[in-house]
Symmetry: C2
Subunit: 239 residues, 2 copies
């Protein structure tokens, strides 16, 4: 089967048609529209909104991935899909408009997360949002976290010293059988932030030292003036 096949000239029209075909199935359209708010969803959830079985959804999602309309991130036994790039979002919005209902596009915009909850929030018991993602990046850039198999992390010697100096109780994170440190997909930023026992200790430290403060009624976190200064001075981070 390998030898030859079609010449496949791949003109713009052919690429356009491929994308059109990817949008053509109602189940796939429902999935894509459901992803318009930017949040990643698992295969199971997308199967539900698509109104099809898990097997069918899997086929659809591979097809959307092949058409480069979505991209997937494996996280444990889950698989999270999200729209790929802003072009896809623009395409879907144009599609909604052409379909007569600007309602869908408006709805998507309304469903976009508000600024405060994007800036910083808690995810279970660790830091998430822009702040969470930035800290996660910074710890790797400093060489304090070393990525192991999968999305697991180990703390280097420099990291151990540095984190303890900040007031993070790394030793406490090691007791118990909880996973020590791993990457968790951030649903507003679509990148990874630090989860696990170590992530929880980092958030505990930040609250204890007054770097962040919990907002009432939400998972949003406010970064204090103290926090902003400390992040700059001790981690070299400009928020």
């Amino acid at each position: 089967m390998a030898a030859g096949g079609e010449p496949k000239p791949d003109t713009p029209a052919l690429r356009a048609a491929r994308i059109g075909a990817a949008l053509a199935a109602p189940a796939r359209a429902r999935m894509l529209l459901h992803l318009l708010d930017g949040r990643p969803r698992s295969s199971t959830e997308l199967a539900a909104v698509g109104g099809v079985g898990a097997a069918t959804a899997s086929t659809h999602l591979r097809r959307l991935e092949a058409a480069r309309l979505v991209e997937a991130a494996a996280a444990g036994r889950h698989r999270y899909y999200r729209l790929r790039g802003p072009e896809t979002g623009a395409l879907l919005e144009a599609l909604c408009v052409a379909a007569g209902g600007n309602a869908a596009a408006d709805m998507a915009r309304a469903a976009a997360p508000a600024a405060p909850i994007r800036a910083a929030r808690s995810c279970y018991d660790h830091l998430a949002g822009i702040l969470g993602v930035r800290i996660h990046e910074r710890l790797q850039a400093l060489g304090w976290l070393q990525r192991g198999a999968g999305r697991e992390y180990a703390v280097t010697a420099a990291g151990e010293a540095g984190l303890e100096a900040l007031g993070v109780d790394v030793a406490a994170a090691r007791v118990g059988r909880r996973r020590f440190a791993f990457g968790c997909l951030d649903w507003t930023e679509r990148r990874w932030h630090l989860a696990g026992a170590l992530g929880a200790e980092v958030l505990a430290m930040a609250l204890r030292r007054g770097w962040v403060r919990r907002e009432a009624e939400t998972r949003a976190l406010a970064v204090t003036r103290t926090g902003r200064r400390a992040l700059a001075a001790r981690l070299g981070m400009q928020l």
Copy 2:
């Protein structure tokens, strides 16, 4: 076959999927992209760019029409298709961008007609462009032209007098076996302008009286100050 069928709830996702399906065939994508410059094309021409036979093209075009992506105008034994509404153009451009090639979108924009040629031009030997369409409208509104079968026109008694007073040689248009007056689809305005022997006489008058002047090297026509004043005073037209 009429009774019942599916319930057909018609959610936004379903409408989106229908549009996606309309874009899905390579032949249809080629046709649509070819229409991106706004010019109407005949079924035969679209069949050629689609790379399919006339029968297949006909099916495709009916489908695009059903999806409200194009609309058709019958003109004699030809049938001209054009993109329907600006939303369709926006959708196609978003599709091109998502397909990786912004080239197609740029190309389409480049192919959009320049302002002067849109404003007024000659089409064979009669007036076209915005000016041509406006005059055509005005002559009907004044009751000077009366629409007959198809797109043929007859000149009324009032029309005969009015046109002669303007300097149009209506009698000259009647000699010979040339079609007297009929509607011609304007490719920038996508509406009708006046063609045939009478249309030629109108343009001849406008040139003779200095209402319009031919631009060098193009089919564009410049409306002179004299022309603007005459159109306002004698036909009640504000350009």
